[in-house]
Symmetry: none
Subunit: 173 residues, 4 copies
């Protein structure tokens, strides 16, 4: 059954992560800002208010959320690379999406994502095999190894990209 | 005596913070990316390797550090606005400055700062008096009210801008 | 020398207004209806006819005046928040105090003040730093920034509260 | 044809206004707060979000608007009674409806309306024939005699009462 909250399904991490898999994920992370730009380049203000499901976020909120989320994720990678399994700080994403900067034009977050993903990609490509095994501790969900986290955020970008496509199709207000 | 680590001195928070002071600080935060762009627009790769003091960061590291630091700070503001005095996660700034993405061209972090400071400024300008009294808890330095934190980051930008000017004058390698 | 027209002195606006000052003023505005209720709860009809000075308003007129005045002030705040420095309409407060609704039981205006001050306080607490710098134009007295106006009405409440206390002490008819 | 913006039609002022007409109108103004209380007493938070038409105000906004509007109107009556055809200050009602105090519980504005309408009704009942001929000047719509303005606000209350009934029937979000 189709679940409109998960248009591409939930993230399934392979038991064994191949180096090719990691390369593919990093390429997906690298590609996301361009895909978002393409998908949203011609959107009107009205289209930016469409929701991907009843009471779900609008296209505008989705884009600002991706910027917030990936900024947090980038920081978690750097924490894990410079400390021994640090406990990271979760954030209340629904409340963040209501803060006033989530009403700004989307090009601000798109620009931010472009620059951020360039730094992030360079960082990810530099990771040695032993660095990929480093991890951080999430207070709610436990230990997260970086190699798995790369897959999670490749999925996360595609997940919200599909939300935006869904919002533009369903036109829910 | 001049301390080359603190070319503009350390941050001194006024006992009582006026609304005009906050307006001025926000304007300084808003202006920083332009000032950084201007100061670094014509720099050669060699100039980007100058240090502001012996064993201090290079101009390139300073710029990437400002982007990292202000990304963390922006996140702390949002945490304080959406949770009750959250304990934030410090980071090891010296180790971050050695990670491979700190060797990237500076325009990536400058672009990131431009977009980030636009979102940040909108958020700061929206803060009501009672929101300005909200705070986060830093595990090492204790409670930090947001109004004081605005001053701290207005100072932080000017502090590192002065470092870059100093590096370009002293040409330390 | 004591001036019985100004039992707590005239309003003195600090040169620089701190965020703490604004918080204090808003709390004073919030507290006024309770203070008025307490002070007037047991008053007889005779006591309501006492004047705070020769030919000054009676206690009854004072209470109706506070309701009129704060209703006008609340409207001026909303005008300043929704237009660019609007010119507001002054009113002839002495003539208003002679209109027949100023002879009504005081509980009507006290109830009105309670509800009005709740709406007003929520509005004031929501004001951002840049909104506090907005202003209206008074045809007689010129530009009034909202932050200063908050102080003026914190004072205005205390000013008339002191008038009522003075009237109940001096018992002038 | 039914126009959902005007469920009871627009205000039609009779050519000749009888004293009986004025008495009826004042009684309608007097009755409004009770009618609003009755209609909204059991509403859930969800019901308060219903709109009377697409992109129209919610029930909550309608109630706060009535309080704002009648406060302004009450002030205009007093201005007209104490000055010679004063020019009154219009207000941007749509922008007022977006200010944060329009998100408050409705009982605050209902209480305010109860107290306000008591003062207003006493004032209106006291008006002599010559006072009924006094007027104010509205910068956009010109001269408004008080007797006509009484009819306008009797209509205005019924107009928005019908909007609320319509919103509760249509359940538009």
């Amino acid at each position: 059954m189709h679940d409109e909250r998960y248009p591409i399904g939930e993230f399934q991490c392979p038991q064994s992560i191949s180096t090719q898999q990691i390369t593919d994920w990093i390429e997906q992370i690298e590609a996301l800002p361009q895909q978002l730009n393409k998908l949203t380049a011609q959107l009107t203000d009205a289209e930016l208010t469409y929701r991907y499901r009843e009471n779900g976020w609008t296209v505008r909120q989705l884009i600002h959320h991706i910027a917030d989320s990936h900024m947090n994720s980038y920081i978690r990678f750097k924490l894990a690379l410079t400390e021994i399994e640090p406990t990271i700080k979760p954030y209340a994403e629904d409340k963040w999406a209501e803060l006033p900067d989530s009403a700004l034009p989307i090009d601000i977050s798109l620009t931010c994502l472009e620059a951020l993903h360039r730094r992030w990609t360079v960082l990810l490509e530099s990771l040695s095999n032993s660095q990929l095994k480093r991890s951080f501790h999430h207070p709610d969900t436990g230990t997260m190894p970086l190699e798995q986290c790369i897959g999670l955020y490749a999925w996360h970008g595609a997940h919200h990209l599909a939300h935006i496509e869904q919002a533009l199709t369903l036109k829910i207000r």
